[in-house]
């Protein structure tokens, strides 16, 4: 595989109230970020089950990012705190499994932070791209 052609697959879980709106704002302001980022809308970052992330890696994702409201600003008051704690546990397990820490990330992006959303995605994609393809958890039987 030639590194120049390599496009990482990135799954971004965005909470409906802050980060998804932040992504929309990035669009409104035409702030570009790589097309490899595909967003899945969830009501709250606490809806993201760690199994969703494992599933993404199993199906060949190279990086997964979870975006939620800033601590203290959660639409549901405490959801992002749950997400933060759950992801801390999951990420340390992924680390144990040999998945590089840089492939996963939790970021707080508010509805007013379109620029932060785009900058975060640019940074995340280049970080993951530098790591190359993720093969450790990928289930090759899923590949056609």
């Amino acid at each position: 595989m030639q590194m120049t052609d390599y496009k990482p697959k990135i799954v971004a879980f965005c909470c409906n109230w802050c980060s998804y709106a932040g992504a929309d704002l990035a669009g409104n302001n035409r702030l570009s970020y790589p097309a490899e980022v595909k967003i899945i809308r969830v009501p709250c970052s606490c809806r993201v089950n760690p199994t969703f992330i494992l599933r993404a890696f199993q199906r060949g994702a190279d990086g997964v990012i979870i975006c939620g409201c800033h601590p203290g600003d959660c639409h549901y008051t405490s959801g992002n705190y749950f997400a933060r704690r759950r992801m801390a546990l999951l990420f340390s397990m992924l680390d144990y499994l040999g998945i590089e820490r840089e492939r996963t990330r939790v970021e707080w992006v508010s509805a007013a932070e379109g620029a932060k959303f785009a900058a975060t995605m640019n940074d995340f994609v280049s970080t993951v791209a530098a790591l190359g393809e993720n093969r450790r958890l990928e289930d090759l039987r899923c590949k056609k």
Partner: protein
């Protein structure tokens, strides 16, 4: 198998310029279940919506995918269009190919490819959608206001004026709250009683308002629109409906040495008392801790002198059960206890007082009839030191006081200092402060008048120690601007004690499942956009229970809370978001994990009968979600270890289908 229609929007050139819409609709045509795929210039237009309607009818579609702008923009539009076409409005999925694709990617090939993937993810999710119906619950058209201070009174009056029934529950024998104890109010210096007592009377006379004084909320059940509340009406040993408030009993009662809490213990009252002359309701209350008759059965003077025959020593607490559609919390504040502030000699000298005590000292109805006299010897003080931020803005490391700014102290101290200088020009007044904060209408002008016109000596610096020595109070302080230590012999020291939420707030928050911050102030649903609603549906916040507030702010928030309540009570039925948690009872093992993470208290447990393999019936504890209370965050779905909990509209299998489609 679903029959899915895909509609790709050009959005004029907003999408079509960087995404090949024709290619997208062609590519999605090959997805499983897609029986129809097209693209159109403006899907949200009437013509676009007609196109949807026509396609649903022609192709027998069971669900539609719209590739268009953000669902935050037009989800409602397309759900309505689906409903008009005879589909369930929740059989619509939107792929956001404008904000999150065409507007952020310049390359047409990349943009088109991403749009196709997003469309596939939406199709994959839609395959697993189920029709959802919003629940409907009736609304009880009655509101409960907890707390009868200015916040509670104003909220109740506003709700009552809109024609709804309101009950005020006040734990003290009278409504009026802290404001009834104040003398004058900043920045206009009108007297607190003159503007408050007419409102108290108005509340008492309003036929839509019922006041439960000397009462507390015992329990709260139910949910928005249908709260079940039990109110404990404490025994006051006086029949409220008969007592005329003549006050004869309070004059004849032989127990004279009861500390008068209305005057903060600076004078005494009888065992049977009316807190103050303008009390509402104006009825006597017997204090069971001091009354001889209630303690040892000997006395009965009040019953003998009462011409109305209102005294009833056998009265017991009464429990009142009532249904409410909305609850307003207006529990207010209290000054902090100063036990940990030994350096200010509050406990060792009677001449070191708090600002609220100072209010009573200057109030015409107070213990000194409004004359400013030292509590220790009744002499007129000639030098008064005001100390700001006593317990406010304390570093967490100090282990005492509060980290926040109490907000009202700068202004009331300016007012108190100004009034002293006005009434007693021979008195020297010092104010020690960290910062003077005056961010209100006419506030800074008011403070400058105190300093410039009335000659109040403002010194930037904190007081380090106050030591009583004979008749004087030795005040050691630093003057930060002059860079020197000051030693002042004061006759009276007034401490601006920090304010904290009323102690009744914490147990109440637990009853209401309303959240609080670390300082026990109630949290609002959104700090900017929903400042008077608690995150718990149907619970609203009024006044200082939400954070330190002065009177104008409290009244404004009280009106805002009332408007929200009126908006709720004006509805006959509440429709609830159908995207809420649901339990698979067969999978649930009743472990309570979900209940613990639910910020709304929407999950309870029920015992359900299950048929066992041997045909016997067993009772099992399973979770039950109240769809009217659940807000659909999904915290419980992840906490559930057996996978019994799922979130409608965002089910695990739906999200996994999206993940799979994206990673394909």
């Amino acid at each position: 198998m679903q029959r899915i229609g895909v509609f790709v929007c050009w959005c004029g050139s907003n999408i079509a310029a960087t995404v090949d819409v024709e290619a997208v609709s062609q590519a999605l045509k090959d997805e499983p279940g897609v029986v129809f795929s097209t693209n159109y210039q403006y899907m949200c237009s009437q013509a676009g919506q007609d196109l949807i309607k026509q396609a649903v009818a022609e192709h027998g579609l069971t669900g539609i995918v719209i590739c268009s702008c953000s669902p935050r923009m037009h989800e409602t539009t397309f759900r309505r269009a689906a409903a008009a076409a005879g589909l369930n409005p929740y059989m619509v999925e939107i792929a956001n190919i404008r904000e999150q694709c065409s507007w952020v990617h310049k390359d047409i090939a990349l943009g088109t490819q991403k749009a196709i993937v997003l469309g596939r993810a939406a199709v994959a999710k839609l395959h697993l959608n189920a029709p959802l119906t919003p629940g409907e619950t009736p609304v009880t058209k009655r509101a409960l206001v907890i707390g009868g201070g200015i916040a509670g009174i104003q909220t109740a009056l506003d709700i009552a004026d809109a024609g709804f029934k309101v009950d005020i529950v006040e734990k003290k024998p009278t409504i009026g709250g802290k404001m009834s104890q104040l003398d004058k109010t900043f920045p206009t210096l009108d007297c607190a009683a003159c503007i408050l007592t007419p409102k108290m009377v108005e509340a008492a006379q309003n036929e839509n308002i019922t006041i439960y004084s000397y009462s507390e909320v015992e329990s709260v059940g139910g949910f928005v629109g249908n709260f079940d509340v039990t109110i404990r009406k404490k025994a006051r040993y006086v029949n409220e409906s008969i007592c005329t408030g003549c006050g004869l009993c309070t004059e004849k009662c032989p127990v004279k040495n009861v500390p008068n809490e209305f005057n903060l213990g600076m004078d005494s009252r009888r065992a049977v008392y009316i807190p103050f002359a303008q009390a509402v309701p104006k009825v006597a209350t017997i204090d069971p801790d001091y009354c001889n008759m209630l303690k040892n059965g000997k006395c009965g003077v009040c019953a003998r002198v009462c011409t109305a025959g209102a005294i009833d020593y056998k009265q017991t607490d009464e429990l009142i059960e009532q249904k409410y559609g909305a609850i307003v919390v207006a529990t207010g504040y209290e000054p902090i206890k100063l036990d940990k502030f030994d350096e200010f000699a509050y406990n060792s000298s009677p001449d070191v007082i708090t600002s609220l005590e100072f209010e009573r000292l200057t109030n015409a109805a107070g213990p000194t009839s409004g004359k400013l006299l030292r509590p220790s010897d009744g002499k007129h003080p000639h030098r008064i030191v005001f100390v700001q931020c006593v317990g406010s803005r304390c570093a967490a490391a100090a282990g005492k006081g509060k980290e926040y700014c109490s907000k009202i102290c700068c202004m009331y101290t300016a007012k108190q200092a100004m009034l002293v200088r006005d009434k007693y020009p021979d008195t020297e007044v010092y104010v020690f402060y960290i910062d003077v904060r005056t961010p209100g209408k006419n506030f800074d002008e008011f403070y400058r008048r105190a300093a410039e016109e009335y000659g109040v000596k403002y010194v930037k610096g904190m007081v380090g120690k106050i030591s009583p020595q004979g008749e004087v109070l030795k005040v050691q302080a630093s003057d930060l601007i002059a860079g020197r230590q000051l030693h002042i012999d004061a006759d009276l020291v007034v401490l601006a004690a920090a304010i904290e939420p009323d102690r009744s707030a914490r147990p109440l928050a637990t009853m209401l499942t309303a959240s609080m911050d670390t300082n026990d102030f109630f949290t609002e649903a959104h700090p900017k956009l929903r400042p008077v609603e608690s995150p718990t549906a149907g619970v609203f916040l009024s006044g200082a229970c939400q954070g330190p507030k002065d009177i104008p702010e409290t009244v404004a928030q009280a009106g805002a809370a009332a408007a929200k309540v009126i908006g709720l009570l004006a509805k006959d039925k509440l429709t609830s978001n159908p995207c809420v948690a649901s339990v698979d009872e067969l999978m649930c093992n009743g472990c309570s994990s979900c209940e613990r993470v639910c910020p709304y208290g929407a999950i309870s447990y029920v015992n359900k009968e299950f048929r066992m393999p041997d045909r016997t019936v067993a009772l099992r504890r399973v979770a039950s979600v109240n769809p009217a209370v659940c807000q659909g965050c999904g915290a419980c779905t992840v906490a559930c270890m057996s996978g019994a909990m799922d979130l409608r509209g965002f089910e695990a299998k739906q999200i996994i289908a999206e993940v799979d489609a994206i990673c394909k």
